[in-house]
């Protein structure tokens, strides 16, 4: 009996069902507990935890769609350091939510208990989990203090005398080795376990260790095999996607994350990852959907950030810009304006507000509310002029100029860029990027489309598919006709094509026009040497 221990501990019970709170308190009191607080949802619980520390927390998993679920509460408490390794967090669940509980990303509860909970069940489960905590107290303390070396030596001693906790101890040992940067020993621990049984956590750990030591391909194979064995283990998908992204398979990574999101849609970080990956891939529909889900889930959580709201709005603006049906344009623009609403309400940082105003200017422009659009843009410029800026604000200034170009305020955009460039004459990167935008005043999304086409053209060129390559370059040139690198690629492909056809006259005409677009290229431009080379080649052809 642990009656006396419970007497000195503080308890927190979180559940949206009043009767459950009452009966839990009653049962805990019978077991010796005296300090018991309760909360009806996650936010209330976090408030309480900010005020005082709790040793033992019982948290219901499902507290309604409008509130954080148990997993989110756990993440929030761990993330904010409000609950330590030495404390006990027990997830209370109906059987129905078992698989959702398994969706845990990084943070795992110490144990589960299933409703209905009676006195005898509670006693047995709590006694067991609490005894485990006592048995592993020193190890958990070492983890809280981030003294991993001590943790490792403690586990190694205890494992010889504590067979009941063997699984937990080995799992913890692997984790400790990883935290300590000793991936070789971590791998050894996991491989030894796997030799006995291919347990999920051991394969997961092995994959992580492989990834961290830089063996990304082998790590990916390990995670793929694990997913095959346990298709519901969402954490494995996250890691597999990480590996795929790192080996340049962004499209595959997106598919993997999408699968994980389908299994467990309420994990915030996973939705955010899907959103960012999809945006990079220019898969705007998927990105917008994932941003919407992430902003909703992140509300009042540790994962909330102004960038999330802004990226959501930017993605919707990009969709409005690239849609052809007026109905779609209007809908996306309206969604963008709505998505920005929390930015103004929640933040007062000047740079955040500037970016918010810029996104608003774009949205209003697509809504054809030109006056509101110009007002928002003016608001952003006003904030910029009131703020002390430096070289590190390059991206902000570029975004501001791009937005002005997009809404037709060309003069303001040019002024912004020239003024900014003049302040930092010695910064070559800054000068180049400002120059590029001045040369090619198109929006970021258009530039990205042109870049994708250009890349496709290069790939086709390398496969000797010259006609197809030329077609991609031409499409890109229709968007960004002045881009020097793109023009040079086009010329290079043309030259090669000319050598292979009987009548190169039509191609010569194309080359002539292209060369004339490059005439103003300054000697300082990083493509200048290449330009010289290609021009020489055409001179030899008589151009």
């Amino acid at each position: 009996m642990l009656f006396r221990s419970y007497k000195q501990k503080s308890f927190l019970v979180i559940d949206d069902f009043d009767n459950f709170l009452v009966s839990m308190k009653q049962m805990l009191r019978r077991m010796g507990a005296e300090q018991i607080d309760s909360a009806r949802n996650g936010d209330e619980a976090i408030e309480l935890c900010l005020r005082r520390h709790y040793d033992i927390v019982f948290c219901d998993y499902n507290m309604g769609d409008q509130h954080k679920n148990g997993q989110q509460v756990l993440e929030e408490l761990r993330y904010r350091g409000l609950i330590k390794h030495t404390d006990l967090f027990i997830m209370v669940s109906a059987e129905a939510s078992r698989d959702m509980v398994m969706g845990a990303l990084e943070y795992q509860p110490d144990g589960y208990i299933t409703k209905p909970i009676t006195q005898s069940v509670l006693q047995a489960r709590l006694d067991k989990l609490f005894s485990q905590k006592i048995a592993t107290h020193e190890i958990n303390r070492a983890m809280d203090q981030q003294d991993y070396a001590r943790g490792i030596s403690l586990v190694n001693t205890q494992i010889k005398v504590d067979p009941k906790n063997r699984s937990w101890l080995l799992n913890t040992l692997g984790t400790l080795y990883i935290l300590n940067g000793d991936y070789a020993h971590a791998k050894k621990v996991y491989e030894d376990v796997i030799k006995q049984r291919p347990l999920d956590w051991a394969q997961m750990g092995l994959g992580k260790a492989l990834y961290l030591e830089g063996n990304v391909r082998e790590a990916a194979a390990t995670f793929s095999a694990l997913i095959e064995q346990s298709p519901h283990l969402v954490g494995a998908y996250d890691w597999l996607a990480k590996c795929q992204r790192e080996t340049g398979q962004a499209r595959k990574a997106q598919e993997t994350i999408q699968e994980a999101v389908n299994i467990s849609p309420r994990a915030i970080l996973r939705q955010q990852e899907l959103a960012h990956l999809s945006r990079q891939l220019n898969d705007l529909e998927v990105a917008a959907k994932a941003f919407k889900a992430s902003t909703k889930l992140s509300d009042k959580s540790c994962y909330e950030s102004p960038e999330l709201y802004l990226d959501h709005a930017r993605t919707l603006n990009d969709l409005a810009e690239t849609s052809s049906a007026p109905k779609d344009v209007a809908r996306y623009a309206q969604d963008a304006i709505t998505a920005l609403e929390p930015v103004k309400r929640k933040y007062d940082d000047a740079r955040v507000l500037m970016r918010g105003s810029l996104a608003e200017a774009r949205g209003r422009h697509y809504q054809k509310h030109e006056e509101a659009s110009r007002n928002a843009a003016a608001q952003a410029r006003r904030l910029l002029s009131e703020t002390e800026t430096g070289e590190e604000d390059l991206d902000l200034v570029l975004e501001m100029a791009e937005t002005h170009f997009a809404i037709g305020a060309t003069e303001e955009a040019n002024t912004l860029l020239r003024d900014f460039a003049e302040r930092f004459p010695g910064n070559a990167t800054l000068q180049t990027r400002v120059q590029e935008l001045l040369e090619e005043p198109v929006s970021a999304i258009q530039r990205q489309q042109a870049r994708t086409l250009n890349r496709e053209g290069i790939a086709l060129y390398e496969q000797e598919k010259l006609t197809e390559a030329l077609a991609q370059f031409e499409k890109a040139l229709a968007i960004t006709p002045k881009q020097p690198g793109l023009n040079l690629n086009y010329l290079q492909a043309l030259a090669k094509q000319m050598a292979q056809v009987e009548r190169p006259e039509a191609l010569l005409q194309q080359a002539r026009e292209t060369l004339s677009r490059l005439e103003g290229l300054s000697e300082g431009h990083r493509q200048y040497a290449r330009y010289q080379q290609i021009r020489k080649r055409y001179q030899d052809l008589g151009l």
Binding site: F20, E95, K115, I117, Q119, S120, K164, R166, R197, W201
Partner: protein, 229 residues
């Protein structure tokens, strides 16, 4: 709800069960309280409260079973195998049934090496044992015995009672992989079907778990065996 929207049965099921379990939680807790008082004040009524407790537990087990089978069928269920103490598993199961055992005046025995460890999905196996235990308590006279030991590279868990034993039709259906139903007696044998499905989800190499039914109990009644590789 818009007319074209098809209801998501999984969601409806999950949220209904969530609701029902909250209510059951209340019912079972109240019954536990009442039972505690009744035994002191009017012990002659304890049997009736015990019956209520038993039926409420049965409803709960049915819900869990139903949902688990649905999830296995829809391939929504992941098996989570880890190393666990068998002794802890058995004592928690018994603890869950302690009030009922007491109310019915049945002695629950347990034989297990405190250091016995095995690999299994603790939720699924707990659910299985609870179903079987609830049945055994219903049909036993004075004693049930829960026992576990090493069996090959895995373990064997046995539950024996001193009741009438399994009816012949159940023994015959013992190795069939479907739920044979006997609606007249009110029993669908879903519990055994569930046990068989859960056992088979436990695999180690080429071997998989199984259940065995017989009437050669040391206590004179039914003998249930769960073998995990």
């Amino acid at each position: 709800m818009a007319g074209s929207d098809k209801p998501d049965f999984n969601l409806i099921l999950a949220s209904s069960v969530h609701d029902m379990k909250n209510s059951l939680n209340l019912v079972l807790n109240s019954l536990e309280d009442i039972n505690r008082e009744i035994i002191e004040r009017q012990p002659e009524l304890a049997g009736k409260v015990g019956l209520l407790q038993y039926e409420a537990t049965r409803v709960n087990n049915d819900l869990v079973r139903l949902l688990t089978l649905y999830k296995i069928d829809q391939e929504l269920m992941g098996v989570r195998i880890d190393e666990h103490s068998v002794h802890d598993l058995l004592s928690e199961c018994q603890a869950r049934f302690q009030p009922l055992l007491e109310a019915r005046g049945i002695r629950g025995e347990m034989q297990c090496d405190p250091d016995l460890m095995a690999y299994f999905d603790v939720d699924l196996i707990t659910g299985t044992l609870e179903n079987i235990l609830a049945n055994a308590i219903r049909y036993s006279r004075q004693r049930v015995c829960l026992r576990a030991e090493t069996y090959g590279s895995g373990i064997r868990i046995q539950l024996e009672d001193d009741g009438e034993g399994f009816p012949p039709v159940m023994l015959e259906a013992g190795d069939q992989n479907h739920a044979s139903s006997d609606f007249q007696s009110g029993s669908t044998h879903l519990g055994l079907y569930f046990a068989r499905v859960v056992a088979a989800l436990h695999r180690q190499g080429a071997r998989q778990g199984e259940i065995r039914l017989s009437n050669d109990s040391q206590l004179g009644g039914a003998r249930f065996q769960l073998i995990l590789p």
